[in-house]
Symmetry: C2
Subunit: 639 residues, 2 copies
């Protein structure tokens, strides 16, 4: 009772399935839910590029590379818009790759998306908390706890349903968006007015052209491409939008791309113009904000806070995406069916909880540092990008006779090529930095999906019955075995129940297991003379148990009955007495009933339970019994 | 299967109850099992006294105080010998206090013994590992792990049975005993020959008499009395000895006392003669051994090792004592009955495992440092000593008309007084050092024991039936409700089973819960037309589930049936399908059967299970099914 009350307080009252339409979200909230991952990358995208270029002092390449990335972003956006219209039920890369490239590419896409979603949560929460602990070092010892707390909060908000998460997470997302736009506008103004103190730089600003190689440019490009993670999220979540779903999703996608593009280019331009050099103690974005707003201004402090929040909230995109992917995989039987069940608040609660649990585990294992996980993360994203784009190319090829497909085919083709190149460069440059782990994780997931699918298929095949199967009701003979522990009311009620239920030609036996060697004769005698079966002529078998186990002799006895009565269907009847409290049942009475049930259903015996609930007892009765009990205890000595 | 194999390897094949006599131990092994706690105290007893005396520089009081402690030891030994003969079934303080002083003193003794046993394990294992890590500091980071490993090993050896633990633990116990005796003999020889370099001492050796107060002497005496913990162990475990049990136990007790007395006095004398001063970096015993054997001799190194081992093995005394106490408490219904069950190897396995678990938990909580636990530990021991002695006094008073009781009464009386004084001094001096916790723990245990006892008494009172209760078999009406998920073989078999089992006037209904809102009409239609009940005229009820829960609508339905058919006994029949693997059952199929069973037995409905085991399927079948499945998956898009 108290658990369900806590649940109600935390996630709210349950919603009816019919209320699903009200749980569709408008574009304003959708942008906050699905884009926090992509938008948050503004906080580190430029920095990633600068760190690669710092080796060759080729900072003048920053803007061209950012331009290329924004072009790729535009390409991906157009390309995913096409996916949104062609696949309005969501599922993104998995469905696109499976339908157009085959089962295994689909499962590989699903595996890399899964990896990506889990890592996004772990990486972005760790990054956000790292930003907080670098601002407030006294919080450093609680890094892991803070990460776990953040994940719990995001999980709870998501369990409240998509409306709640949209409302709550919209505030920090838009706050970050507008404070960053403000930063860019103020920066541009200041540059225009020329009233700028340049950042102190200990590095010469003219490039060492010789050291600029193609590989360096590619590496910088790939590093910057980590900004593009999360772009696919909207295309995976089309069904969450209000009707017309595809149209709204496509519109939101474009808005997200425009926001991301403007912010990325703006930050890149400011970084180049102010001659920012990446630094281990302060992020590039913080350096820019410090110079533009001034280190002590309220704007600076607020912007820092919004940045931390958006980094943590990037995790929310996974909480929107992963459960939906889980649903689609579960519908096709590639993951446990429970992933397809909508919880009280019409979200796929199991997926949300599992995502939080795995990400939490990763954070505990890696002590809340994201560096180990980063390479894995980017590779998963670009693998699924490439498969999705490739799938769309095949999709257009297939449709070429029905409509004009040249332009969309070209767009997806160039998209596949570009993301494929990034994938190869990432895999190449990051292989020894942990990217090899992907070679283990993705095949593992693919195999897991496949074997779960085979299991479900096999079960279904075996359980299927035709629509009008002929049933010839054989006159089955029944044998019922009463497992009896003592001469109690429970035993009497069970005999009563069985006798009145079954038909006349059912055979009934009683059985008792004697786990004591000596001093138990009186009890056995009492059981033997128990009026109930003496009157009803039920034969009693007493089993000796030299090794003091109840299940073993009972199992041998039942299996022997099965051998001796091959034509009989054998059922075990268990008198089950319940106390007011499940814990007491388990700790104080050993829960023998449940033990027997588990054991004998596994052995394919039918089992009948006759529960008997102990009523509350008065205190005076207790007193008397207790007194008896003490006398019993004293008896031990004198035996 | 593999679990039971591992179990067999770790603890050996099960023993028959009839083999109990062979599991009785000889005095040689018994001394090792029951005395390791007491004997190990030689390693720290003298030191505890010196640390108190160092404040007043009153080292010349060491020997007198030790003499007084040995006198108390002699008194306790004689007194517990009397207990052994009077109470040959063991149980020690609990039984003695309960029978002679009443229920609550008995329960207080049981509570303090329980506290004592658990703390002995945690304290002694921590102390032993601390000795090892101070010799090998590189092991320090693994302190907790080493503690837990030691506890696991001791637990496993004890689960192998008392013979095994006697054999294995005799070696280090006797090694410690003889190497310590060797140390004392060699020390005395060297003192006799006068060829001694005195230990370097920075303290004057003449006492500052002014500062010697009664309280100081009492504190030193109480500190030294910690050596006496474990003395009562033999009297608790009399039934483990060979016949004649009491005689053998009494003999072993005397041998233990002699060994402990000689070693304590010997160490005390050496410490005084060599002018040892307690030191934080090296124990007193190690200082003595270093001087007597020489720091680099093999004797010195071996003696250090044996000391570490005996400190850890002191825990074994608890493993011998606690499960026996648990058995006695369980027999009288003060702890869960499962504590009274003998395991495969004829020891009370549940007690052994619980002791290891709680001690392990304490070690994890206190990070393997024993200082926090020490005060609690000693107070528990002396509380049970005092209660036991007091109980014996009452015992003799009661028997005064039957035999001469003056001498034994005096012995126990003085014993009660002495241990009572130690108890008060310990409580007084250690109260703020954590001894106040005892004031919480002991009443908690007493209340727990009492409430468990009341629970059992109440249950027994309610279930009891008279020997020849008149049973009037009422012609009960039965209503069976079939819970059906789909048109599978399992459903068909269940219908078949129920139809052939029950008598003609039993009412049967089928019920299906629709958790989907839309798109499920086809399945419902198929269920409605399922030939099995159409032919047998079983009415089908389809329950809508707006909140997607299975249990809730089913519960409402069943409770309504109960209201509508008050004269009927209602039974729910659940078709249960089982896959080859329990984990798969749970993860992939949600284990709905078990969920329903738990829920409806709790609501006091009778439940019938009809298990159906899925057979293994061929790979080719899988292939085909999987293909269908993929087509299903693709269908999602087009819906």
């Amino acid at each position: 009772m108290s658990f369900s009350l806590i649940k109600r307080i935390l996630i709210g009252p349950p919603l009816k399935t019919a209320e699903l339409a009200q749980q569709k979200i408008g574009n304003f909230k959708a942008l906050a839910i699905f884009s926090s991952d992509a938008l948050s990358s503004v906080a580190y995208g430029t920095e990633e590029i600068l760190w690669v270029l710092v080796a060759a002092l080729a900072f003048n390449l920053t803007l061209p590379i950012l331009l290329a990335i924004v072009c790729l972003l535009a390409l991906l956006t157009i390309s995913y818009r096409q996916t949104i219209y062609e696949y309005p039920n969501g599922g993104g890369s998995f469905i696109v790759a499976k339908e157009n490239l085959g089962l295994y590419p689909g499962l590989i896409a699903a595996a890399s998306l899964t990896t990506d979603y889990v890592l996004t949560v772990a990486v972005s929460v760790s990054a956000g908390i790292a930003a907080i602990t670098s601002a407030y070092p006294q919080l450093l010892p609680f890094k892991v706890e803070l990460c776990l707390l953040s994940i719990c909060l995001i999980m709870l908000v998501n369990l409240r349903g998509i409306q709640a998460s949209g409302t709550i997470f919209a505030i920090p997302t838009y706050a970050f968006l507008f404070s960053t736009l403000l930063l860019i506008v103020m920066g541009l103004l200041k540059i225009h007015q020329g009233n700028f103190e340049l950042a102190p730089s200990h590095l010469p600003m003219h490039p060492a052209v010789d050291s600029v190689t193609i590989l360096l440019v590619l590496r910088a490009f790939s590093a910057g491409c980590t900004s593009l993670t999360g772009v696919e999220a909207i295309s995976n979540g089309v069904p969450a939008f209000r009707s017309p779903e595809s149209h709204n999703a496509a519109k939101t996608m474009v808005w997200m791309a425009i926001a991301l593009g403007i912010m990325s280019l703006g930050m890149g331009f400011l970084a180049s113009a102010i001659h920012i050099v990446p630094h281990h103690d302060e992020t590039v974005m913080s350096q820019i904000a410090g110079i533009v707003f001034g280190k002590n201004s309220l704007f600076y402090i607020l912007h820092q806070w919004f940045t931390m929040l958006i980094l943590i909230l990037a995790a929310n995109t996974s909480f929107a995406g992963f459960p939906r992917l889980g649903y689609i995989l579960a519908k096709s039987g590639f993951v446990p069916r429970s992933m397809a069940m909508k919880g009280d608040r019409l979200v796929y609660s199991n997926g949300i909880i599992i995502l939080a649990a795995i990400a939490g585990l990763l954070i505990i294992i890696f002590h809340g540092t994201q560096h180990f996980l980063m390479p894995l993360y980017a590779i998963g994203v670009f693998l699924s990008f490439t498969l999705s784009q490739g799938g769309m190319v095949m999709h257009w090829v297939r449709l070429r006779k029905e409509k004009k497909v040249l332009v969309p085919l070209l767009i997806n083709g160039i998209g596949a090529l570009a993301t494929g190149i990034v994938l190869v460069v990432l895999a190449w440059t990051k292989f020894t930095h942990g990217a090899w782990v992907v070679l283990l994780i993705i095949p593992f997931f693919v195999m897991l999906f496949k074997s779960i699918n085979e299991h479900y298929a096999a079960v279904r095949a075996e359980l299927k019955v035709g629509k009008h199967v002929e049933i010839i009701p054989q006159e089955k003979q029944h044998l019922i075995v009463l497992a009896i522990g003592g001469t109690t009311k429970v035993a009497r009620d069970t005999v009563d129940y069985i006798l009145t239920l079954v038909n006349n030609h059912t055979m009934i036996r009683a059985v008792h297991v004697n786990v004591h060697k000596e001093g138990h004769e009186k009890t056995i005698e009492r059981i033997r003379e128990f009026s109930t079966w003496v009157e009803n002529k039920i034969p009693l078998d007493v089993l000796e148990s030299p090794y003091r186990s109840i299940l073993e002799p009972l199992e041998n006895y039942m299996l022997e009955l099965r051998r001796n009565y091959p034509d009989y269907t054998i059922t075990m009847a268990i008198p089950e007495f319940l106390t007011s409290n499940k814990l007491a049942n388990f700790l104080l009475h050993g829960d023998t009933g449940r033990l027997i049930y588990n054991h004998f259903t596994e052995l394919e015996f039918n089992v009948i339970f006759v529960p008997y609930r102990i009523k509350t007892t008065s205190k005076t009765e207790n007193k008397k019994c207790c007194q008896n009990n003490i006398e019993d205890a004293i008896m031990i000595k004198n035996k």
